[in-house]
Structure formats: C-alpha cells, structure tokens
Symmetry: C2
Subunit: 457 residues, 2 copies
C-alpha cells in the first residue's frame, strides 16, 4: 500500500534531499537483512538528528504506518526486515562518536556507528567496548543494543546489556525520553535502559547511547585443548568455569566443525580431534603464566588428547586459524545454512551436544555445533544441501528448541528473536510473561507501529 | 481502616497459624524500616510458598488493599514502610537456598534468605554473590533485588542488577510469571528481570531468584593512600579507574569522616589526612604484586602524602579500621543522620566534594562524605545535632540533588528512592521517562495495590 501523501510530504520536509527515498531500486536495498526474509519498504529515510527521529515517529503514528529501525542490516533473525512495509529508518548516517571519557569509563555515541569504528576510536585511549559480534565491521552499535549482541568476550566481559549505562530514544508514542545515567551505579526508578536492550526496535528508536567501557588488557594468551569427544570437552568447560580465573574467550568446536574447517583449509593445521576448546586469558603480562596455568589445569581431565599454549603472535594466529576457517567452510558447504544460537547452563552442554547429534541422525541433515561454550551459548547450525534436507532441517528446529528448554536453556543468546524464532517464544516463556511483555509494548507503542511482526508472538 | 472481613478470612485460610497476625503489638513491629518513616499495617503475613503469595496478591487486588513486601526491613528510604496501611508480606521465613551450581555459576534462592547466610553457604563452593551492602547480616536477598543494592565490591563486580539471571514473581495483577534464565546470556524478549530489580516491590512480589555467582578470588591486598585534600584524592580515583587493573574496592573518606573516626576511636590509628582512599585488589596470589603496583602507581600524584600497603592480615585490618570506625562514629555524633547515596561520573567527584563542602558552610550543618568512589557513589550524610540543624539539613537537600544532576549524576546509587527521594524524581528524570515508568506500573499493577506511595511521584 502506498504511503499517505501527507506523510510523504512530511518525510520530504523533515529529511533533506538524499536522506529520503521512495525509488524502488533504493527501497529494494533495504528489504533484506542477513536472514532469509525480505519485504520492500514503502520509503527509506536516513536520520541524522534526534529531532528528525521524533518527527518521524510522530508522523508514522499519526498515519498508523509501520516504522522499522535498521543499523547495518546484519541481523540473522529478520529483526530489521520491514515485514509490514511502511518506512525503514536507516541509522547508518547518524554515526558520530560524541564523547570518549576514560576517567568515567564511558563513551557517548550515536546509534549508527559501527562496532569496529567505535573499537578503533577507543583503542588509543586504552579501552574497548565489550560486545564483539562477528559482524563488528558492519553492524551498528544501535543494532547491538536492539539485539543484545555479544561474542566470544562475553564470557568475561558480558553482553551488550551489561555494557550500556543509558540512552536517549523516541518511544512509539512519539515521546522523546532519556533513561539511565552517565554513572556505573543507578537505583533511580525502573531500568528502562536494559528494557530497551534486546527489544529489537519494538518499543522505541534509540538516538544516542552511553556505553560502559572496559580497559584493554595489556596482554592475552591463547590455549588450544583437543578432546576425544564433545562430552569430554563440555565437561572441561564446566571445570574451567568453576574455578576463579575467568577466561576472556572459551570457544568450542565439534567434530563436524573441525572436519569442515580441515577440508576447507587443509593448510590451517586444524587438529584431527573430535572436539576442540579454544581458550584465551588476558591481563597484565606478568599475570598470564598464572592465569594460563589455572585454565590449563582445569582443561585437563578424561578425554584430553592435546593441549597447546601459544607463546607468540604467530602461534596464536595458528591456534585460532581453525575457528576462523569455519565461517568460510560453512558458506562453502551450503547456501542454505540455518543458524541458531541457543543457550543452556554450562553443566548441560554435554546433553545439548549429544542431543544435537541425535537430531542430526534422526533428521538426516548435517548439523555443526560451535561457539561460546563458556556462556553455554552454542551456534547450532543446520547445513542442508538440497530441498529435502532444507525441509528436514526446519522440521528438526522445534525439537532443538524443545531440547534446549528441557535443559533449562533458552532460544537465543545473542542473535535475538526477530521473525524467525517468534513462533517459538511460547516454548521459552510462560503465557503470563508474554502478557506482561505485551503490556509493556502497549505502554511504549500503543498503536503498534514499531517493527510490527517481531519478537512477540 | 480495618481490612474487609472476607480478606481477613482468606488470609487466615491461606496462612497457617503464626504466619498471619493482626495483633497491634506485632503490626507495630512492621511499621518501620531503617528510615524515619513509619505506618502501622493492618495485617502482617509471613509467606513460605509461591502459591501463598499468589493467593495473597489476588485477594488484595480483589479488595483494593495495599500490599507491601518486606525483607529484613533495612531500607533507609522507607521502601518497606506500608505508607497506605494494608498488608505487609514479610518474606523472612521464605528463606531457603534451593540450589548451588558451581559449574553454572548460579544459585537459586528464596527471597528471604539474608545476604550473609547466602555468602556463608556459597563460601565452601569457592563462590560469592557480588552485592555486599553494609546491612548484609540482616538484609534479605529479595530486598537487595528490590533496591538494586550493592556495596564496595560493585566497582569490580557490579550491582545486584548485574548479578541476577532470572526470577519468579507475582505481578500486581495476581498473575504468576517467570523472567530471565539459568544462563549468563539471554536475548529472548524484553528483560523483565532487570526491570523488577530496583522496582521496590511496586510491580511484583519476587518469590524466587536465580543469582549469578562469582568465583572467590584466592587472595586480596589492601592499600591506603592519604591526600592533602579531597580534590587530590578524587583526581587519584579517576586515574585509578582509567588504568586496566580494576580494584575490588575503592573507598573514599573526607576530612570530617576521618576526624569523626579519629575522635571516636583514637586507638584505630586513623591518619591525620584531609582525604583518604582505601584500595583493595584481588586475584591469584602470584598476581597481587603486579595489581597492587598498578593501582599504587595510579594513586600517586599531586597531593599524595602517604601510601601504605598491607602485607599481612593484621595490617589489613588496621588499614580498614578507620572505615569501620566511621559508622559507629556517625551514630555517636547524632541520632538525626540524613543519609544519601548520590552518584556522579568519577571525573566529577572533585566538583561533588567541593560542592558538598560549600553546602555544609552555607547551611551551617555538618556533612560527611565517604563511600564507593570507584563508582562515583558517595554517601553524603548530613549530621544535624539539633532541631535547627535538622531543618537546615532538609533545606540543603534539594541543593545537593540539583548539584548532583548538574554534574550528570543521579539521586541514588544503591539505596533506591522509596518515600524519601520520591519528590525529587522529576529533578533526575524527564517527565516523558516518568510517564513511561507509570505505563509499566499500570501494566504490572493496574489497581496500584503494590507498595503505593513509593518510587514514582
């Protein structure tokens, strides 16, 4: 349905030439994200100021037109696909770093700055922002907030939700508001900041955020532990997490992940193990021997076949080559990857890994498991190669989620819900919890204009 | 107003003998918390099961009777005083530790367990729960959640909000729900867990919570740095927080705090400085030299007059004696202490300390400043000794809060809002933010029965 003329006129008044487009060729570019979903919006705008965003939300509300916020478009859940059409607000041009304050361990940024550009700006100050998704070069900080993104470092430094102090936003009502503080402690009313983190643009559009910074460790050291089977590796993860030295990364690769990496990049030196842990510790240089010794001690146990500690940059790069090769290897294996990022308590990892193997056998579809084992957060990726396998992969999905819930886990650790996991929300959350979420949605966005069709079933 | 008879009957049906009381002598005991406010409830009940709590909320809602949750009653803001009468639900008997899972770094507890009892149960497993309020022996974990409590360790390990994974609760609607997970990562819908933390019992009654545990460091070391003036100490705090070794405590005492401690306990060896920093680092024993060296280097600078590093337990106790003496010294100085826990960004601490000194002079009332400097969270305590000074202290309060807001800080770091800071909320938060909070309140508690008169103005 075409946009009402008064709304179109207002968009052209609010946004300068080149910052609003209704041409189909441009709208098509904003129909997609990194999921399999697509829907062409009726208009795309590129805000650069808070006031533009406020005017935009008010106009969309007045005309009951759907409004979907978009950062780098790297979501794998369809979170930034405008499923109901309407307007896409693309924040990539609202990308200034407004302030870096090392004494206060904070940075104030606009939502469109990429994660990587932010990290580069922070590095000279001796700081980093903890969330480190694989899409860092392209994903926007605003999108990191929207999905509660993270990556390998979360095991020590937390997810986005643990690393944001405050924000400015425009609710679906059209009202501008601020939440949170510029301080690391705050007991002043309800926590609207963390409520917005992970809300996938369904409650408000974030126009500025104050991020909690972490000092860069002076040094890191990597270890690689190989095991006879996934269960042995998973039990080692639990032992590592039960001792005081928290690794700065604790990544797992299963047998198929290792085979794919090995076949795709034979020169990468991927070991012939059935399960691998990549472990990193960080800190002051003088403390790394102690830290590496502590995690190595915990990594040892039944099923360990090899333990290598990198002693220089070249060895470190060699150890991580297997993990790096895996992404390309998966892409080479199939164009139809269905990627999930389920989470279970660390102690339940052996059951998850075994359950996934049984699913792969039962449904006769390759499944690779790897990822952030220290958080119990595994990427369980189905790699179907033809139409039949694609069908069987989707048939297996509900069983995967049921398994995860039975293990006291949940649907998503860092990708979010979007379109693709929305129908499974009632598996993870009781009806009363979903009802309260709908009540919050109604308070922030009474007319349901913000990113309709996402997150809440 | 007396309770409706049908409600009274239901209370007696729901709670066994001894777990419900309408006798005035018992009701009087639950009129107070650690603030200056008091109001006698019409009944007190002592739930021990989730089902009792659900029945209680439903009955109170049906009869539109106020319901106030209470833990140890240690709030200094009036948060657990039943300002509108009605029923107090005292959770002290619902105090079981249901599960301790070291591999998963979590514990599941009922809300009435005291912070200290929990820590004692965790210690043999090599873990602790990060929030460490001064009231730990008496305060309940449920109250810690309600107020987003913390203490000195928050500078490294975070507040309650950073250390809770999930919870079960009964909303003001009477609906039971679960929020969060048993995992350290979760991007599955809106974050109701953190929304409830700091909500002071105005949205729901928490009946169970899953806590994130932290491994106990193997060793700690304390340092004490004395400065010529508060500004020099505050600048040292900023330097310490801008380098990579995060202390596990970074506490400040101003000149009056030191004088009070010295006068009250001359044998405690409190130094003759005008400002003091108490610094603690923790970690593996072999790493403490490096950590202590790093913070000591940052602590040095203009105005440092003395820097002492404790090398054994006796010296550590001696260093902390000044801080310990202060609580008793304040109580000896006056019965009319007005205690605040304002927060500013660390870089603004010098302005806060100077501003507080000007307030003390202008209003001619003693004010002592001390506390969690690493978070910018100072306890600014007015110590009026007579009626005139009490009046002047309360006259100075709005100026203190205005100063804090001007410095980009906020009203409360760890005590919460309750009754005593409620009228100042519009200073800290824009009207639109408060409106959204009211919308959330309406979604959780449409009839406004839960802890009326608190938090939201």
């Amino acid at each position: 349905m075409p946009l009402p003329l008064t709304l179109l006129n207002l968009l052209h008044e609010t946004f300068p030439q080149g910052a609003v487009s209704t041409a189909e060729v441009e709208r098509r570019a904003y129909a997609h994200d990194n999921s399999r979903h697509a829907q062409i919006p009726d208009a795309v705008v590129f805000p650069t100021t808070h006031d533009q965003v406020e005017a935009l939300v008010r106009a969309c509300r007045e005309h009951r037109v759907p409004l979907t916020a978009r950062g780098g478009g790297t979501s794998s859940t369809g979170a930034s696909v405008p499923m109901a059409g309407g307007v896409v607000a693309c924040f990539t041009r609202m990308n200034r770093i407004l302030r870096i304050a090392p004494d206060d361990r904070l940075a104030v940024v606009e939502p469109g700055v990429t994660n990587e550009a932010l990290q580069q700006a922070l590095a000279p100050h001796g700081f980093f922002w903890a969330p480190d998704p694989g899409s860092a070069p392209w994903c926007a900080v605003g999108g990191n907030l929207a999905c509660n993104a993270s990556g390998p470092r979360a095991v020590k430094y937390g997810s986005t939700r643990d690393n944001v102090l405050g924000l400015a936003a425009v609710a679906g009502t059209g009202e501008s508001f601020r939440a949170g503080t510029h301080t690391t402690k705050d007991s002043t009313g309800y926590d609207l900041t963390r409520l917005l983190i992970g809300s996938e643009g369904t409650l408000a559009l974030i126009t500025e955020t104050t991020l909690k910074l972490t000092p860069r460790p002076a040094a890191v050291r990597s270890l690689r532990a190989s095991y006879t089977d996934a269960g042995a590796a998973a039990r080692a993860v639990a032992r590592i997490m039960a001792q005081p030295v928290t690794p700065s990364a604790l990544e797992f690769m299963d047998a198929l992940a290792l085979k794919l990496a090995r076949d795709h990049q034979p020169e990468a030196g991927v070991p012939e193990a059935d399960a691998l842990l990549m472990i990193e510790v960080d800190g002051e240089p003088e403390t790394l021997d102690v830290a590496a010794h502590a995690v190595a001690r915990a990594a040892r146990g039944d099923g360990l076949t090899d333990l290598v500690v990198a002693t220089d940059a070249a060895q470190t790069a060699a150890l991580w080559a297997a993990r790096k090769a895996l992404s390309l290897a998966q892409r080479a294996a199939t164009q139809h990857k269905v990627n999930e990022d389920v989470v279970v308590p660390v102690s339940r990892l052996p059951e998850l890994v075994n359950g996934v193997r049984r699913l792969a056998e039962k449904h006769a579809v390759p499944i690779v498991s790897f990822g952030h084992a220290g958080n119990g957060n595994l990427h369980v990726n189905f790699l179907p190669r033809d139409v039949d396998e694609i069908e069987r992969a989707y048939a297996a999905l509900p069983e995967l989620f049921a398994l995860v819930i039975a293990l006291e886990g949940t649907l998503s650790g860092e990708h979010g819900i979007g379109v693709v996991k929305r129908e499974f929300m009632p598996l993870a959350l009781p009806a009363a919890t979903l009802d309260l979420m709908r009540g919050i949605k109604a308070a922030f966005d009474p007319d349901g204009i913000l990113n309709p069709g996402k997150l809440l079933p």
